[in-house]
């Protein structure tokens, strides 16, 4: 065993012990059971897609078609691997370099571990890719072993993912630049969506027919690697695959090295200096407003929560993403989705608002104590009731969500995307109902399994796939009353039916909220020691 190899083993071993100690130290509560259940559902869905690929690919009868289908699948998988973490602002596992840099570990070893950790953002891709490889290997058109070339695709994505993560982490840490980067990503993501939305389908088909003959020969990574893995060997495909791999390795390592030498404290300090200069800014004045209108301690608590959120990098990122990214990704579905017609865009405001609530979830609902963990300890010793603290956090969440819906409305108006004025109160009412249900569940989750979070970090540390697993299982339940309200309007063809069902949803939501609030406060009172310990705990070498 080389010394560097032993260092890697030690890092992995320590992380394994951290996980083991956390699991054996924790209780198998309902929250944890639900979490594992939702993960099982999500990965079962992914495994189904893998199975589908494994049985469908051998049924294709021409090699050209097999290469084209594989190329399309690889393109989709690469987009998921590289873009989904950005869309969900969830980076997955990463080395805790702040703690490891003090040791004499060679940079290339750290890079290797970091690249391997990128598997955590591509687990779903690997499962589907295994199905694709199995399908290609079983196809009578290929030599079977050619599927091993898919490993090039995996290696390229791992290294590209390191580079993208490091680059974005640095860019997203800078105020001003962060917003520009998000806008850039929005525009990039918007391009194909806007083409699909704005260009008539016949023109698109014509364009495809014209260029279909040469497009598969473009030396794009997914095309080249699909050709190799399906046994359609050519010098161009081999050269392009190696070139893309080398380019990804260079990009990933260069960005990683820049990240190692980057001093985040310096950037933050400059930002703080800027924000301190002069009189209180717009943000401070805005955040202080509810504090003036509400009686203390509620007023002081809400003002503090708003200020803390407003100064947190992660919150600002997801808030900004809500009314930019949200609009872009829902735009094509609204205008081109199944059953779309001239009135399809009218629900866009509602959809984007509900998506924004999902993005804001971890900050506002699911882990409300984790974001400002130092303050939690103070709340336990201050002469203020925990009920008031939780109520203030909940009120802040609602105010923020309302502000988000207002920003989405404004953005849609500026973009001249038509929607009837009656949809505005509807969007606010539905977002509020969703918030009520999220708060009911979130208050309990926050005291049952609190986790300290770094508000300065732009990325969520869990992977995008895990977030989606939870979303798939939980959000439909919370969205059910809104869906039922729409169903009632469709059945009775009256807005009154919609609002009546929504009202009954509010009643159920209010009951759930009050019961959950009482339980959450009771748990927090009883288990304050555990909560403070959980919030002050730091992670392992990988976080």
């Amino acid at each position: 065993m080389t010394p560097s190899g032993d260092q890697i083993l030690a890092i992995v071993g320590a992380q394994f012990r951290v996980l083991r100690n956390r699991i054996t130290g924790g209780r198998l509560g309902a929250g944890r059971i639900f979490y594992w259940f939702s993960m099982a559902v999500w990965y079962a869905l992914v495994a189904f897609l893998a199975w589908l690929a494994a049985v469908s690919l051998p049924a294709i009868h021409s090699r050209e078609q097999l290469s084209a289908v594989s190329s399309t699948i690889l393109f989709g998988l690469m987009a998921f691997w590289q873009l989904m973490p950005v869309m969900m602002a969830a980076s997955g596992l990463s080395l805790d370099l702040k703690r490891l840099l003090v040791y004499p570990i060679p940079e290339r070893m750290l890079f290797l571990v970091e690249a391997l950790l990128r598997f955590s953002t591509g687990t779903e891709v690997l499962i589907v890719l295994a199905g694709v490889a199995w399908g290609i290997a079983r196809s009578p058109l290929t030599p079977g072993w050619s599927a091993a070339f898919l490993l090039l695709f995996v290696a390229m994505n791992l290294m590209l993912s390191v580079g993208i993560r490091d680059l974005l982490s640095r860019l997203l840490a800078r105020r001003g630049v962060r917003e520009l980067v998000v806008l850039g990503i929005v525009l990039l993501a918007a391009l194909p969506q806007l083409v699909i939305t704005l260009v008539p389908p016949d023109s698109l088909r014509g364009l495809y027919r014209t260029h279909a003959s040469w497009m598969p020969r473009l030396p794009l990574p997914w095309t080249a690697m699909a050709l190799l893995s399906t046994g359609a060997f050519s010098a161009m495909a081999a050269l392009a695959s190696v070139a893309w791999l080398a380019l990804s390795a260079w990009f990933g390592y260069a960005q990683f090295r820049r990240g190692l030498r980057w001093d985040e404290a310096e950037v933050k300090s400059k930002e703080r200096e800027k924000s301190r200069a002069g009189s209180p800014g717009f943000l401070e004045r805005l955040c202080a407003l509810p504090g003036r209108l509400l009686p203390d301690p509620l007023g002081a608590l809400v003002a503090k929560e708003l200020l803390t959120l407003g100064r947190s990098t992660r919150f600002r990122l997801v808030f900004f993403m809500g009314f930019t990214f949200g609009i872009i990704i829902w735009l094509p579905l609204a205008f081109r989705g199944p059953g779309s017609g001239p009135r399809s865009g009218e629900n866009l405001l509602l959809w984007v608002s509900l998506y924004a609530a999902l993005l804001l979830g971890e900050v506002l609902f699911w882990n409300m104590l984790g974001f400002d963990r130092g303050a939690v300890q103070a709340y336990f010793v201050m002469p203020v009731s925990l009920r008031a603290v939780v109520a203030a956090k909940n009120l802040t969440a609602i105010l923020v969500l309302l502000a988000e819906v207002a920003m989405i409305t404004l953005a849609l108006s500026v973009l001249r995307i038509p929607f009837p004025a009656s949809k505005i109160p509807e969007a606010f009412a539905c977002a509020l109902l969703l918030a009520l249900l999220l708060l009911a569940a979130g208050n309990l989750a926050s005291v049952k399994s609190p986790r300290g979070m770094d508000p300065a970090s732009s990325w969520r540390q869990s992977s995008a796939g895990k977030v989606q697993g939870l979303v798939i299982l939980l959000y439909p339940v919370f969205l059910a009353p809104i869906g039922l309200a729409h169903l009632a309007r469709y059945a009775f063809e009256r807005d009154l039916a919609f609002y009546l069902v929504l009202l009954s949803g509010y009643l159920v939501g209010a009951i759930c909220y009050w019961v959950a609030l009482d339980s959450a406060v009771e748990i927090a009172e009883k288990e304050r020691e555990r909560i403070v310990a959980a919030l002050s705990a730091t992670q392992g070498p990988i976080s």
Binding site: P3, D6, Q7, L9, A10, G13, A14, R17, V18, L19, N21, R22, G25, K98, R99, L100, L101, V102, Y103, P104, I105, P106, R261, D263, A265, E266, S269, K270, R272, E273, K274, A533, S536, A537, T538, Q539, G540, P541
Partner: protein, 255 residues
Amino acid sequence: MAPDPSPAIEIRGLRKVYGEKAAVDGLTLTVERGCFFGFLGPNGAGKTTTIRMLMGLAPPTAGEIRILGRKMPEEALEVKARIGLVPDESLLFDHLTGLEYVEFVGRMYRLGRELARKRAAELIELFELDTAGRKLIAEYSKGMRKRVAMAAALIHRPELFLLDEPFEGVDAVGARLMKDILLEQVRQGATIFLTSHVLEVVERLCDRVAIIHEGRLVVEGSLDELRSGQETLEDLFVRAVGGPARSTEALDWLR
């Protein structure tokens, strides 16, 4: 082989700027080998920033650092292998036991699994943390955390110790043990670079001290050279950085 004549730490014109403020401003300092060096200053004077730059955790805006004759950050890997660190901010992993953590650090310093495990067990026993058994570091008191950090800093027998407030929260018995170990390390030729706000401890342990204020070096020398008459280190410190600018007399309600 002749002993290396280069100083343990050599800093020339070191500067670290955050925004428009210089946290460290033109610091020039030499710490000879085998010296117990006290690096003092009021809160926010730039002590931790200096240590972070010495460890290669923060790149300097300007200036030059040489540690044990090697240039930082160019030769960071060789330097890090010969340094023991007790930082002010925690580098500990809370969900490991003390023994697991010290063994982990030993392996980071390339001791190999067996040797790291053996030394970790001995150090945990020495620092009387073995009674904590399977306790996770998350459950340790502040003093116990400092003790486990000190144990980890010793595991690879470093030539230079960078200690940021190592006695903070440590009880009298634990502090005595740590001081004895550090003095023994100095006797054997190690160099210690210590920051502490407990001036009595610095007075008792250190051969030389430096005081920085607002990022600049204001005093440097041996304690005997610096003190005049019966002056204590606290008197010297207050003289060097200035006394409190305000008093409670201005606040009627507090009197």
